[in-house]
């Protein structure tokens, strides 16, 4: 049997270390556990580097000297969690390799077993699905193959294969990896290290099965959700077909199928994509799939509590979605949704319990009516404005039981005041003031102030009649008739009047109301 000597071990370590250096960035990209700071590869490399320097400081006479140097160097240079674990593996290996002139493959495999066991002991709470699991899988497989008489190369190759399979399973063991759609970074680091070392055994370059490395997706929000495949009949060739194609997206694939051209693309705007190709020929077939939906379905379990909000305006819809609303029912002032509209939304929400924010006093009643018409538990929060809904949803703890949540929401709403700025549709008298049709009016509870000049003036007159404490958050949602520039200058004006308040502006995109302003 071949004995492995000091030169083997030096060579083995060097090639492993260099392989980690080469693929450092791949490892970094995956890093989500325990802390997603993207430095696993860097840390591991620095740990190995320190070992390599230690080997170079001495003139090793035997395996023992090399192993000692690796262990000492890594211990002193260990960075980060995976580096610390690697150093413990080397330390454990050194227990077996110490005092050895040269070693048998069996002793080599035993040293790895000892190393892994040392690493498990060193970590206060070992977590499976990490470098620990992958290294154990390697060590075990390696040792067992050697035990049944396989030669070094074969046993090592099997161990690599098994470790690779284990690595692929890490997302099943550690949910955070699954959520991020990655395998464990430390585990990959270990595998890469071992793959490098394989070249010392085979003494040649080895083609390895590639582990697909995808950057960790911490939030599964797809930039280009639509997967579009279209078949087009055109006189153009593939190259000219996409000559001036410049739509945002990725994964463009073009292929010829008999006399048709097939195009595949991921985009956020499939209508534009289709428009583009319509001009180039006639479309035979178009297939659009929303991948976001699949992603959501995969990760979406039935929720305990779902949220429905009645709202108008694209800006508001966007904000509400971000704030955690599951379904939005189109509607508001002069455009009240029917009970059926709300009921449909209730059925669409994947939740046992549903909280509805009507956001308008005229909608509250239809919302309440749905309670009788569904098997789900429905609770209606009598919100009279959209900001009440937005603030509630951003501030509550969504893991609370529904009853506690409702209490908390009611408390939040108490502290929110909303002013709505619109145009009077008729002549009227209010609290002694004469309001003409076409006047700008700002409404707060039962107080109305008007201005002939501008919606901003009406708002300011009303605000000045409200007690606003320092530190109050004033949020301005501007409507579809106001552009961003005008809204910004309104904000600046308010900042001068209320220098000690926080003022925020967002596009609500709502019709009828120039501004909806909340104070909280």
């Amino acid at each position: 049997m071949d004995l492995l000597d000091k030169d083997f071990l030096i060579n083995f370590f060097y090639l492993s270390y260099k392989e980690v250096e080469r693929r450092k960035e791949d490892i970094n990209k995956l890093n989500v556990f325990p802390v997603p700071d993207g430095d696993t590869g860097t840390n591991m490399l620095m740990t190995l580097q320190s070992s390599w320097e230690e080997i170079n400081k001495i003139e090793p006479k035997n395996v023992s000297d090399v192993s000692e140097a690796i262990a000492r160097g890594s211990l002193m240079g260990a960075r980060g969690n995976s580096g610390v674990i690697m150093s413990q593996i080397f330390k454990g290996m050194n227990i077996v390799l110490k005092d050895k002139e040269s070693i048998t493959p069996k002793q080599f495999s035993l040293s790895l077993i000892e190393g892994v066991s040392k690493a498990y002991k060193a970590v206060i709470k070992p977590v499976e699905g990490t470098i620990l699991t992958v290294s154990r899988s390697f060590a075990k497989s390696f040792y067992e193959s050697i035990k049944i008489g396989k030669n070094l190369e074969e046993a090592y190759f099997n161990a690599l294969k098994d470790a690779r399979e284990t690595l692929k399973k890490t997302p099943e063991m550690l949910s955070i990896l699954k959520e991020a759609g990655v395998v464990d970074a430390g585990g990959l680091g270990f595998l890469v290290f071992m793959e490098g070392g394989f070249k010392a055994i085979t003494k040649r370059e080895v083609e390895m099965e590639k582990i697909e490395v995808q950057e960790a997706k911490l939030y599964q929000k797809l930039t280009y959700p639509y997967d579009v495949v279209l078949l087009i009949k055109t006189d153009l060739d593939e190259k000219n077909l996409v000559k001036d194609f410049n739509l945002n997206g990725d994964s463009l694939i073009i292929g010829k199928e008999e006399n048709l051209i097939k195009v595949h693309y991921h985009t956020d705007n499939f209508l534009k994509l289709i428009d583009y190709f319509l001009e180039k020929g006639s479309l035979v077939k178009v297939n659009v799939e929303n991948m976001q939906y699949e992603v959501d379905q995969l990760s979406l379990k039935e929720k305990e509590v779902g949220f429905i909000s009645v709202s108008r305006g694209d800006g508001f819809k966007e904000i509400l979605k971000n704030a955690g609303v599951d379904e939005i029912v189109d509607g508001g002032q002069t455009f009240n949704p029917s009970t059926k509209d709300i009921l449909d939304a209730i059925e669409r929400v994947n939740a046992k319990n549903v909280i509805i924010f009507p956001n308008n006093s005229n909608v509250i009643f239809s919302a309440i009516q749905t309670k009788e018409l569904t098997n789900k538990r429905v609770e209606v929060i009598p919100t009279k404005s959209i900001p009440e809904c937005i603030s509630s949803l951003t501030m509550i703890d969504k893991n609370l039981p529904i009853d506690d949540m409702i209490k908390e929401i009611e408390n939040i709403i108490k502290n929110i005041r909303t002013i709505e700025v619109t145009k009077s549709i008729r002549d009227t008298k209010f609290n002694g003031a004469t309001i003409k049709k076409g006047d700008f009016i700002a409404i707060y509870n039962d107080r109305i102030f008007n201005s002939k000049d501008s919606p901003e003036d009406a708002a300011i007159i009303n605000l000045k009649n409200i007690k606003i404490e320092d530190g109050t958050l004033i949020t301005i949602y501007y409507g579809e008739e106001i552009d961003e520039k005008r809204a910004s200058s309104f904000k600046e004006k308010l900042e001068k009047i209320y220098p000690n308040c926080d003022i925020e502006i967002y596009s609500g995109g709502q019709p009828l109301y120039y501004y909806i302003i909340s104070l909280e």
């Binding site: 802390v35 700071d37 211990l75 260990a78 939030y219 951003t394 501030m395 109050t472 949020t475």
Partner: protein
């Protein structure tokens, strides 16, 4: 004699550290592949500037040799060691200090997990020192240690979510919406990790809420407590909060300090907070 060893994240005032002869092991600040010793190579005022400028700034636990060297120096003088560290759930520092102890194979070193951060951790160290000064043995201090942890409350608020997202150490902020709606979470320590205590909209509101929370926690205690005010690049606001709180509360001792880099890297500029230390009778 019992010597206290801490890491640089404890945020105790420099004078106090000097007076009590506490040994500080610096954490490392990492910029790309370069490392700097926290508080040694980079002072706290330089840190804020660096944080604003440098996108790839992170902290790293001290390497084993730093622990070993500090421990060796102390042991050579014949002293015993209590090494108290930033929460083990949030940092590898505690684990490393345990390894260093194991490496040195001595029972003269004891390693304790503060389960807290910044001055929350600092107050726990201070309480340990009080016990030692009262004449308790190391063994007694260690057996009392767990009960000290619940005496310290740290609450703080952030002005931007950018850093806490990037740092990835506060799990439950993942559910928050980045940089819209002016969200200012209030965080506290729970089971050794920073967690969201409450979500508030608006900076003014979050500082008012912080003040309310502190008042409520102290409500019935008349005198036996201390306060620490910490901030990162928010001097004016922390002073206002302090004046406001001190007009109603009479702590036995209080101080204001800039947040060290360990918390600062994750909290970002504008972070401010209060730690309450309920003293023993």
């Amino acid at each position: 004699m019992i010597k206290i060893v801490v890491d640089s994240s404890c945020d105790l005032p420099d004078e106090y550290i000097k007076e009590k002869d506490i040994k500080v092991i610096p954490l490392y600040l990492k910029v790309g592949d370069k490392f700097y010793k926290d508080g040694v190579d980079i002072k706290s005022d330089e840190f804020v500037e660096l944080l604003k400028k440098e996108k790839n700034l992170s902290t790293s636990q001290p390497p084993l040799p730093d622990f070993i060297k500090t421990y060796k120096d102390i042991l050579e003088k014949g002293d015993d060691i209590l090494s108290i560290h930033i929460t083990g759930k949030g940092s590898g520092t505690f684990n490393s200090s345990k390894m260093a102890k194991e490496e040195m194979n001595t029972d003269k070193i004891d390693v304790l997990d503060s389960e807290n951060i910044s001055i929350g951790y600092g107050f726990i160290v201070k309480n340990v020192i009080n016990l030692i000064e009262k004449g308790l043995t190391k063994k007694d201090v260690i057996s009392k240690f767990k009960s000290l942890l619940s005496r310290v409350h740290l609450v703080f608020t952030l002005n931007t979510l950018q850093y806490v997202y990037k740092g990835g150490r506060v799990n439950d902020v993942k559910g928050l919406i980045l940089n819209i709606l002016d969200i200012k979470p209030i965080l506290h320590m729970k089971e050794g990790l920073p967690r969201i205590y409450k979500i508030i909209r608006g900076r003014g509101n979050s500082i008012r809420e912080l003040s309310r929370i502190v008042n409520e926690k102290i409500k019935d205690v008349k005198e036996n407590f201390e306060l620490a005010f910490i901030h990162l690049d928010a001097k004016k606001e922390i002073d206002e909060l302090k004046d406001n709180l001190l007009s109603k509360l009479q702590p036995k001792y209080h101080f204001t300090k800039t947040v060290g880099s360990a918390l600062g890297v994750h909290a970002g500029p504008g972070a401010l907070g209060v730690a309450i230390n309920f003293l023993e009778e």
